[in-house]
Symmetry: C2
Subunit: 149 residues, 2 copies
């Protein structure tokens, strides 16, 4: 992965619809060369996929929530990870250092929906303690790509 690869990735990250000829012009390569590099980057896994960056509000997911979670002593950690991976609202789940075991990031349409989320966690006997943090605004929102649909 050299500078040209990085440049190509940078251009595609901003606009994945740019033509190979266009990109080639920007990096000084023929279209087919750009194509071959993209093919290699995809094959190697550096590019995971071509996808969309969506507007959460337009998708009805206005509220961004972070939940710190300490699992129950007797919780099945593997089951929890699988649960998180398949949960449509959970955008990210990280095992973290510090006082809490997991940090979960999710989007809901409105705050009341968080209650249902936590209740479901409890029902599955995962939830020990938790702390919920809601984003009021986002100077740097990050990209939004739902999992399921």
């Amino acid at each position: 992965m050299d500078d040209i690869d990085l440049k190509i990735i940078g251009l595609l990250a901003l606009d994945a619809k740019r033509s190979l000829a266009d990109i080639g012009g920007s990096v000084g390569l023929a279209p087919s060369s750009v194509n071959e590099r993209i093919r290699r980057l995809t094959a190697s896994g550096a590019i995971r996929r071509f996808t969309l960056d969506l507007d959460p509000a337009a998708m009805g997911m206005q509220t961004l929530v972070f939940v710190w979670i300490a699992l129950r002593e007797d919780a099945d950690e593997t089951a929890f990870r699988e649960y998180a991976a398949n949960h449509p609202l959970i955008l990210e789940c990280h095992h973290v250092t510090g006082a809490w075991a997991y940090l979960v990031k999710l989007r809901v349409s409105a705050p009341p929906e968080i209650e249902g989320f936590l209740a479901d966690l409890k029902e599955h006997r995962f939830l020990g303690r938790s702390e919920t943090v809601i984003a009021l605004s986002s100077p740097v929102p990050g990209s939004f790509t739902p999992k399921d649909m």
Copy 2:
């Protein structure tokens, strides 16, 4: 935005390179109709852009970090937001409820790099107190789309 729009978005989110004919087959529309719907979704802002989902490790950004930040009393909040928006390492920055003012998410190549990040925050006179949390593993990693390049 109806069910068909959602289905189209879902398909494109998984693979934004699928052809219009292919998508049309899945949703029961002619290619040109799918095209028109995508055009509308993009024009309305529901689709922000076509982009890439990258492998952070392949990009040399193995370490995921969350930093809780309380700004200095005399900090220029607007300047901080701008700083965050332009910082290449900061993937997200949210103004949040709770004991801390901001939650910042960033990726670095390795933990030692975090020190430089915090030092820079201090130099800009933003940083009051902070607490740093590092992700050990990520059952649900989320997508990765760097900002700059």
